[in-house]
């Protein structure tokens, strides 16, 4: 739609001006382009380059690494985050198949039978199949059901998924408001810190204590999220950069705190906090498993976020700001306020994740309290297409990967890391929907109607300009 927005340069110049006469300042300043600014593009580049702060930025800027970063980046991001759920499912399938091939390639039986592939291909194919299936069967047994433990592994999956879904809901909510929240990690850390402090330092009656712990966690996360929102709304600082930096600040702040007397467990040299009180912990949900009350909270949160987004005026504003801030502003929505609020909500949701870690599974505060939850949550939200229930089930899937991987390594010797590979492949395929579509032949007519390359851009431009 570039031509729709494109202002004809200098249309205000007077009719009779002699050619060559410069008309200073006659060009009407273009309105703030709502779609994207150069900062947006840059920030998106950085986010992609560092995997959301996971790696150090590379020396060569991303924009120089490939030929085609730039103009439509913002829209591409939106497409990736909110594309069709069908692509998500296909991406998981393809990633599992590729992951299976990778597993098979390290299998000794497969390697042996490959030696006489042309003699007896059935041996090779059989070995390939059994290598792939045995690993995934082990994964399934570790994550959902096995005859020995029954459905106990499924409960473990749900336990692992609990904080992940919370943080991912935050990422999804912010994204619906047009904000790319990379800061779930920092928000989880801060909320876990606040919640843990309330858990071990204050001694309160049982129900009250847990509520106080939860509130502390939410407030901590919300504040950490709102900082990015305020900076974005008031100064225009890009939320991707700000949240990445806030992640580092949170991480090192926690490291610092764990070395202060207020947080360090008495008599310990390692940076670890005292255990939180029993009254501060989520009650276990099913005896014999680690599953705790936090999972019920997650289900309620998912419903709440769905309601907020689809049935409330606040969600209407969030979505309007996310989809078209210019129109939202014209319709009277206070865009800066919506941004701050969306980030605070996102932080609060991540805060529930921090609380689930502290009051649910870990019961102590360590430097690694947030593990990879904040970063995985971005992938989960991505896989869930930024919808609350999509995020919920994507979170369960990732929980299953994590829970089942251990069993897989024990049973078949397949390294845990293969799960990371599968997760990464999922992201890769979701980020490249055309790839998935072409693998499954879902691109009808694309080749047929493909005009010459230089022609295409102007063709689209004139087509949209003319065809109303």
């Amino acid at each position: 739609m570039a031509t729709e927005d494109g202002k004809i340069p200098d249309s205000s110049a007077p009719e009779g001006t002699a050619p060559g006469d410069s008309v200073p300042g006659a060009t009407v300043p273009a309105k703030a382009a709502p779609a994207e600014s150069p900062q947006d593009v840059q920030a998106a580049d950085v986010a992609l380059d560092t995997a959301g702060g996971l790696h150090e930025p590379s020396l060569v800027p991303v924009s120089s690494q490939s030929g085609d970063v730039g103009h439509k980046q913002g829209n591409v991001l939106q497409q990736i985050m909110m594309g069709s759920g069908f692509v998500s499912i296909l991406a998981v399938v393809v990633a599992l198949v590729l992951g299976g091939l990778l597993i098979a390639s390290t299998d000794s039986d497969v390697a042996r039978t490959a030696g006489y592939f042309f003699g007896r291909p059935s041996d090779f194919l059989g070995a390939l199949w059994s290598a792939m299936t045995s690993s995934y069967v082990a994964l399934f047994q570790g994550a959902v059901f096995n005859p020995r433990q029954g459905f106990l592994p499924l409960l473990e999956t749900m336990t692992v998924a609990t904080p992940l879904i919370c943080a991912a809901l935050g990422v999804a909510l912010a994204f619906r408001a047009g904000l790319f929240n990379i800061g779930a990690q920092g928000q989880v850390i801060i909320s876990a810190t606040a919640a843990a402090y309330a858990g071990f330092a204050w001694h309160l009656p049982s129900v009250v204590h847990l509520i106080v712990v939860i509130v502390m966690g939410i407030v901590g996360g919300a504040i950490w999220g709102a900082i990015a929102g305020v900076l974005k709304a008031r100064t225009g600082a890009h939320e991707v950069i700000v949240t990445i930096m806030l992640n580092y600040i949170a991480l090192f702040f926690l490291d610092f705190l764990l070395n202060t007397p207020a947080f360090r467990r008495p008599g310990e040299n390692t940076p670890i906090s005292p255990r939180i009180d029993e009254s501060a912990a989520y009650p276990p949900l099913i005896p014999g498993s680690r599953l705790h009350f936090g999972f019920i909270v997650v289900v309620l949160l998912t419903i709440a976020v769905w309601w907020l987004l689809n049935r409330s005026t606040i969600g209407f504003e969030f979505r309007a700001v996310g989809a078209n801030p210019a129109a939202a502003r014209t319709a009277g929505v206070k865009v800066p306020l919506a941004m701050i609020l969306a980030m605070a909500f996102a932080g609060a949701l991540a805060g529930f994740g921090g609380v689930a870690q502290v009051a649910g599974t870990e019961k102590v505060l360590t430097g690694g309290i947030a593990a990879q939850i904040g970063f995985d949550s971005i992938t989960v939200a991505l896989l869930g297409r930024s919808t609350p229930w999509g995020t919920f089930f994507a979170g369960l899937l990732f929980g299953a990967f994590r829970a089942g991987a251990v069993q897989m390594q024990i049973q078949t010797g397949t390294p845990i890391d293969i799960v990371l590979v599968v997760q990464s492949l999922i992201v890769l395929f979701i980020a490249a929907p055309p790839l998935i579509r072409s693998i499954f032949g879902l691109n009808p007519g694309r080749k047929k109607n493909k005009p010459a390359r230089p022609a295409r851009r102007s063709a689209v431009a004139t087509a949209t300009g003319g065809a109303k």
Binding site: E4, A455, G465, K468
Partner: protein
């Protein structure tokens, strides 16, 4: 050169943008393609220019079939195209722009611009273009930029020149100059394909008119055909082009703008000390070439411009400094200039867009809880009332045609009691039939006693609707004149010449 299109069809998926189109452009003729927005004119020309490959059909030049794989082929065969949106590099000079893509070089690949300069001067002198080859394109008025585009085509020895909606961006005077240039080119033997939906120009300049509707040729007509007949051919049903509105019955003056000044972030003054008022039951139309401060004026009233001084009062209440929500709450209905940017949220459903600024008011919301059934009900009523062509209220607004999108915005803004109605380009991109309807709605709003402010760059629309006409030029108010003011006077005012002959602006 004789150009023939035989049975051209172009399909996008199952949708046929062009179906079985036959067209013969004789040498030395101005052949007009008349049709509504979305009728398939531009698609057809893009096929001819090699941008699209036709699904079926043949293009013949002087009887020989040709097959263009891209604009390069088309240019080499002698077809030139001036797009609706210019394809010029603003920071290049005229000569550099003309040379771009067909540079002459001397030994060792050194660019020789002198040759191009000479050709530009020749063509410029031949047709009276008054174009300086060394001027920077960004400094040139739009009309001159358009001539640069024409020169580009002529330098490449175009025998057939396609002009796609060339008058959309011009003042009436510039338009007249362009029509003159077209006649000269025709007399010099160039064939011209002139694409337009403006009947006045088409009748003034064409030798043959071909009307296209929904991708098919409806028929040919001579330029002497009556305007109403051409219009009904375009739309496919009888249309009335004149709006029979009663004379205004202005009552109390409730909307007053005093000394309104808007500064752009870079410090330039874009609206300069404007004062006017509108009475209840009166339409004030603001005319002017695009980009003379109209956008900023309306946005300042709505409260989304910063650096605004002066005063805007509605019913005695000051609006400046209020948040947008409160301005809308004071009863201002606002149709923004660019509906796709400011008026609609594309991914939202039609129903949601119809409550985009009412979502938190009863009956659509109760506290922070929205009521989807009420939103839906509202959508069904408005879709019916405004004849919005949408597959369902749940369809994304971005998938509707431009005209239907505009109807969504108009329906929303006219669906509550108003104290002031401001509409920028209320009918841009809307088909002739719907224009009629929307104009009636605007007049109906006036007749219930709302002060109405219309901003339009279409002089026809201004003259049709206005009870008084204000003309803006470079952010200043050139003057306010009564509705019967002749076209020529208005045209001069749009170029900065005051109604008494004084020159404003500089």
């Amino acid at each position: 050169m004789k150009l023939e299109l035989k049975g051209i069809s172009k399909a996008f998926g199952t949708f046929y943008a062009n179906q079985d189109i036959d067209l013969v452009v004789e040498p030395g003729q101005i052949h007009c393609l008349l049709g509504e927005n979305g009728a398939g004119k531009s698609t057809l020309m893009n096929v001819l220019y090699g941008l699209y490959e036709p699904t079926a059909g043949q293009i013949l030049l002087d009887g020989r079939p040709v097959n263009f794989r891209g604009p390069g082929d088309a240019m080499a065969a002698g077809i030139g195209m001036v797009h609706q949106h210019f394809m010029l590099v603003p920071v290049f000079t005229v000569a550099e722009n003309v040379a771009l893509g067909a540079e002459t070089t001397t030994f060792g690949g050194v660019l020789s611009i002198e040759e191009t300069r000479k050709k530009i001067r020749e063509i410029s002198a031949q047709y009276g273009f008054h174009v300086d080859p060394d001027a920077l394109v960004e400094d040139l008025p739009v009309g001159v930029q358009q001539r640069v585009e024409i020169i580009k085509a002529l330098v490449r020895k175009a025998k057939v020149l396609i002009l796609d909606e060339p008058t959309a961006v011009l003042t009436p005077q510039e338009t007249d100059e362009l029509l003159d240039i077209m006649r000269q080119l025709r007399d010099g033997g160039t064939s011209i394909v002139f694409i337009s939906h403006k009947l006045r120009e088409v009748k003034a300049v064409s030798d043959v008119i071909t009307v296209i509707r929904r991708g098919r040729v409806v028929g040919d007509a001579p330029p002497t055909a009556p305007t109403t007949e051409l219009a009904s051919m375009m739309v496919g049903r009888p249309v009335s082009l004149t709006l029979n509105k009663d004379p205004a019955a202005p009552r109390e003056t409730t909307f007053v703008v005093t000394d309104l000044t808007v500064r752009a972030p870079n410090g330039t003054t874009v609206v300069d000390g404007i004062s006017f008022d509108i009475a209840q039951g009166e339409i004030l139309a603001v005319a002017g070439v695009q980009g003379n401060g109209q956008t900023e004026l309306t946005e300042a009233i709505l409260g989304i411009q910063e650096h605004v001084t002066g005063s805007v009062t509605l019913d005695g209440k000051e609006l400046l400094g209020l948040p947008v929500k409160d301005v809308l709450g004071a009863g201002v209905g606002f149709v923004p200039e660019d509906r796709s940017v400011d008026g609609l949220v594309g991914p939202f459903s039609v129903a949601e867009n119809l409550v985009l600024d009412l979502y938190d008011k009863a009956p659509f919301a109760n506290g922070i809880s929205m009521n989807p059934s009420k939103v839906h009900e509202h959508a069904r009523t408005k879709i019916e009332e405004f004849d919005i062509r949408t597959p369902s209220p749940n369809a994304a607004a971005g998938t509707l045609s431009g005209g239907n999108q505009q109807k969504v915005v108009m329906a929303r803004e006219l669906s509550r009691p108003l104290r002031l109605f401001i509409a920028s380009q209320p009918t841009r991109g809307v088909d002739v039939g719907s224009i009629e309807f929307l104009h009636r709605r605007i007049v109906a709003e006036r007749d219930v006693g709302t002060p109405v402010m219309i901003i339009s760059t279409e002089l026809d629309e201004v003259m049709e609707l206005a009870d008084r006409i204000a003309v803006l030029y470079k952010g200043k108010l050139v003057g306010i004149v009564p509705s019967g003011t002749p076209r020529d006077t208005l045209g001069l005012m749009m170029a900065g010449v005051g109604p008494e002959g004084g020159h404003h602006g500089h």
